[in-house]
Amino acid sequence: MVSHRHPNSLEEALETLKNEPCHIVGGGSDLWVKNRSWANTPPAFKKTLLYLAHLESLKGIRKTDDSLIIGAMTPYETILNHPETPALLKACLYELASPAIRHVATLAGNIANASPAADAVLVLIALDATLEIQNHAFKRTVKVKDLIEGPGKTSLESRDLITSIRIPRRTFTHQTYKKVGGRKADAISKVAFAGGAVIKDGTVKHLSLALGAVNATVVRDEGVEKPYINQPLSKLKSEKEAFKKALSSSINPIDDQRSNALYRKKVALNMINRFIESL
């Protein structure tokens, strides 16, 4: 039988992580599906369970001059209803799962599970979000994009804990979030898109596009975006096909029970096309 830890503080949680490998439990809404057992039997976990959803020090949303900082254990519904939450993230959370899951599920869980279809992750990557990660010895900051290495794989070590998510404050002049799923709520994406841009006096000041469920990790290529920044919007518009082609090589979806590669790729490219046309 596995052990259960219900720490009273962040320090106690970090101490536990130092001493033994744990499943870190926030809302549990993903872990309890993945490790599901027969009805009326506890799920089949093999590691100590470290419950953190009750820790107030890991909850809440605060604003600094340049960022919004979201505590790792803040449920989606709280983020969705917060006045400072970026519109692009709100648009995503609005369609993510359902109220009954949004009341418990967290951004940190969505990130750490590292599903290629994780909806909030692609938005965080489009928003250039970073994570504060702590262990018993030190703190560090990592870009969300750099943390996720593959399906279910991150660079987190067993003693690490994501304590907060930092989103740079930026007002987009144009933004789009689009998810294609089998149902409006509680759907795992077939393909998802997040795009944000700042266009000022016909010049592209900022551009970020991210696609989910079309590769092992979220597709965002700053190298493709960069040549269009501080350039006239007309350049991006006239080179739209080349832009799509440059991203196309990273769009390598799979066939699975939810969709197929051909459809996903076609839709992904259409979403990029539509976003550029909307600018």
């Binding site: 039988m1 596995v2 259960h4 830890r5 219900h6 439990v25 809302g27 549990g28 809404s29 309890w32 599906v33 599901r36 009805a39 009326n40 039997t41 506890p42 799920p43 976990f45 369970l49 419950y51 959803a53 009750h54 519904e77 609005y94 799962a97 359902s98 109220p99 009954a100 899951i101 009341h103 418990v104 409006k184 709520a185 509680d186």
Partner: protein, 157 residues
């Protein structure tokens, strides 16, 4: 962690259970509360929903450990309230109940929604109920029921 303590339908409850147990199993098997149902078992249908501190939560994917210190209301507890009486009548009158399997979850979703938004638009109702599946009514009758409950229960929420 050996015990889980929470308030269940107004009564302080301490259970000596495996804290990783699904809270749905605790409700149905340890506490014999059969109102919350197991539909999909993976958070997609809402038949297992209860109110936790007034908000709808799916219990089939909720570790029992996470209700520590919380206020839990199941359909059995909610059934003693005035708000329930209003919602029940509205569901009955509009035909919002057919086989009844989804109904406890639908009523919990209605209560959670009206708690936050006492006069919801059609769109808000659809979002409020979006995590609850019904295979009988086609939803329109349920949406009608929620609207009727909100109107008739004005001032209750």
């Amino acid at each position: 962690m050996n015990n889980v303590t929470f308030t269940l339908n107004g009564k302080k409850t301490t259970l000596s259970i495996d804290p990783s147990k699904r809270f749905l199993d605790v409700l149905r098997n340890d506490l014999n509360l059969k109102g919350p149902k197991e539909g999909c078992g993976e958070g997609e249908c809402g038949a297992c929903a209860v109110l936790i501190d007034g908000d709808i939560v799916n219990t089939c994917i909720l570790p029992a450990a996470n209700v520590e210190g919380k206020n839990v209301t199941t359909i059995e507890g909610f059934a003693h309230t005035k708000k329930y009486a209003v919602i029940k009548e509205a569901f009955k009158e509009t035909g919002g109940v057919q086989c009844g399997f989804c109904t406890p979850g639908m009523i919990i979703a209605t209560e959670s929604l009206l708690n936050k938004n006492p006069s919801p638009s059609d769109e808000a109702i659809r979002i409020g109920l979006s995590g609850n599946l019904c295979r009988c009514t086609g939803y329109e009758l349920i949406i009608k029921a929620v609207k009727r409950a909100a109107k008739r229960g004005e001032g209750l929420w």
